[in-house]
Amino acid sequence: MNVIIATDCGSTTTKAILIEKKDGVYRQTFRGESPTTVEAPFEDVTRGVLNAFAEVEELSGRKILDGEKIITPAQGNIGVDIYVSTSSAGGGLQMMVAGAVKTMTAESAQRAALGAGAIVMDVIASNDQRLPHEKIDRIRHLRPDMILLSGGTDGGTVTHVVELAEYISAANPKPRLGMTFQLPVIYAGNKEAREKIKEILSKKAALNITDNIRPTLERENLFPARQEIQKLFLEHVMAQAPGYKKLMSWTGAPIMPTPGAVGLIMQTIARKNNINVVGVDIGGATTDVFSVYGEIFNRTVSANLGMSYSISNVLAEAGLENILRWMPFDIDESDLRNRIKNKMIRPTTIPQTLEELKIEQAISREALRVSFEQHKSLAVGLKGVQRERDISEAFKQEVPGETLVDMLKLDLLVGSGGVLSHAPRRSQAMLMMIDAFQPEGITRIAVDSIFMMPHLGVLSTVNEQAATEVFEKDCLIHLGTCVSLVKGNTGKLQEKCISYKIAMPDGNKIEESLLYGELRVRPLGIDQTAEIEVLPAKNFDVGAGKGKPIIKKIFGGVVGIVIDTRGKPITLAKDKASRVKQLQQWAKAIDAYPE
């Protein structure tokens, strides 16, 4: 396989990339894009795909199409060997999930749906405090693409899951697309209840039964349900969307929901490099957060946190105060509110002035922060589990249900989406991510250059080598490494905080110290590494404990090494004038904006 064409059919744009094997290595060579054509007047997704292909043909000189037919296999400068695609057009995959206990099976069901690439519209649980008629009304009004029903461990409770099935049956919900089709319902709960569920639901829904997502309290088994969701996504949801039947006949691998594919490439990279990864994709309408810690993959989507369509909801969820705290100049609140709403109603406009750019970047910090908070609260250990602790664990304060996202164990933070990938200066993206995610200890930070993670995710299902090579060489732009205090470390401004020694690749040695509340950047280029020794003052911790030094190999990037002693959480001055001055100083330290 030498030539690959891949597309991601997004809500507004269809993006195509061409990957070619040159000198034994896969590289992304050309790209093209075109408006997505799912909506009227075209109502055929393949029109946009063909237009994006045409742009790639024009730029690359490679003939890909013979009329409306993809030429395969590749011969010289003609044709491609395979075409793969992802899709989030038409609102992506919208699901409702139900489970017996909100913090147990319902939460597992939510993780299964999110991991498969869905937006979870609501989580219904037997103990969610809503009255039965409220649940039934909600199910009827939501019109999801499919429902995932779970509940009970195998051999456990039958009553609660049957009760949920009765509610679904009473609601008789209709699918979002296609008035006359039956709504797909996946049952992935207690296997003892299967017959009862069939009795109740088989006449009212397109019922599919798969393995229990929580066979025992101690074990979560999400894979079969995720597979079933993606299968039904293709068979029911995609098949209803205009032009997708034709598109499916073109692709050499099943079309995947866009976020499902991004999750897949994240897992592949984490596994191959044996690292823990957190990724974020901040779009106009939604923000997806992915985490891979060891074997555990989690994905969440904050369906209404984004930088254009949903920008106003960032204000509603984070609050005006939280947005204003990142504003590096004084602004009238009423003016800020109107500017945010004007971006919402004209979502395709872009900042022209520096002031407008700073406003959007301030808002993005809060969109990222809130999305990450939501992710951390769902990416948790299994709740309701009886655990035996050994003597070493007994001294740790770990509680089942605590977040799995341990910032100190994070190796790589990857950002994607317009506000990060297209920030005029890379240092702006780095600062936004440090402020929003507040990494601890030593963390490598990168951005996705042109949003090709979906393409590479679906490609990894057919050619992992091509996907990972392109990911490393063309997709990621390493910004550098951040050295930070760990959570709970705050101090007094101008207090002695850390000293550090960096052995640079050219043999030079940097020896410096930094007071509390500062930010400093030292250049270390892409593909360069250095060794850093950080010695915190006795009240401060950079990962090894208070006052204890750490020595670590660090990686460079287009920004370099960022040493951050601003505290965790970052200490912002309470009065407006001092805070504005702080923000301006930090922005200057990282060279975020022109003078």
């Binding site: 057009a89 039965p132 009304d137 009760e163 009765e166 509110r337 709403k341 406009t349 022209q352």
Partner: protein, 377 residues
Amino acid sequence: MTHAYTPGLRIAERTKVTSQRVLPLLGDVIVKKGDVLKAEDVVARTHLPGKVHAINAVNRLGIQPKDLREYMLKKEGDSVRKDEPIAETKPWVKMLKAVLHSPITGTIESISAVTGQVLLREPPKPIQVHAHIDGTVIEVMEKEGVVMETTATFIQGIFGVGGETVGELAIAVNKPDDILTADRILPAHKDKIIVGGSFIQHDVIDKAKKTGVRGIIVGGFDDEDLKKLLGYDLGVAITGSEEIGITLIITEGFGKIQMAQRTFELLKSRTGAKTSINGATQIRAGVVRPEIIIPHNTTTNKTSGEELDKPIDRGMEIGDPVRIIRVPYFGKIGKIKSLPFTPQKVETEATVRILDVEFPDGSTATVPRTNIEMIEA
């Protein structure tokens, strides 16, 4: 006529407008193709399923779920009246008898021997869909609804709240940059749709509601006032179902912004005409903008053989009039002076496709292409 470059707004003096009038569930269409209708006429009706009530019968009766059917006085599908007994126990001692009464009038939906629940359903609720515009039925979608067509003045707003309403059009200000103040709301505006200029505040909307105004069309509005009007901070622009007693459409954006001269003149020229408006806005893929439809020839509703405005379907050209839709030139109108092919750096340092705009006073500005919309002179 305006064709927004990206957001897709239209302003047409005379154009063919079609409108799908569809039931939320399958039902009966009661008009036929070719019928000439008034906005108030019903085109289709159906019944929404009644609300479901669940009763934990076994707890109330003190029995096991598997025995529930034995104690039921009604079976699935039976009608029940409010307070009618639907299940009872049969103890030896009559005093210990437990009786379960129906909390509603409706039918028995299901009796579960697993959960011990009885689900009851209220009677179906009738709903109907109106024509909303004076016009002709051009298509009947069996059991779903109809497509209406009319020739009308058609204006899309940029944002709105409140649903469909119909009323006579009245102009409440003199110029498009006038602020619509409380003293301009008159008793004569009752049941009308009024047109303001550049701005309206919350207290003026309150007065309009008290006066009985059905809808307001205005250039701009503050987000702080929107929060007051709705009672919450609007997060996502999906509107139309708010029950706020009035429909509000803004044509330009948030803040104080003069209504586009052409929009104002067009509305003014239709003073007194029957106008159908809908504030429903959905800014997502498949964008929905608020609509102002003012049918022509309401007596005959002819839709053919007339000269109609059509949306601009070409790209930008030098000399085209445009409106800038983002700071720092937000709301300004000018003509395209040049369309450089090569992307250029703007103040943010982003390299983007731009164009140069010349304003009526001769001054010029460079603007990202995504920050303008095309308008007709």
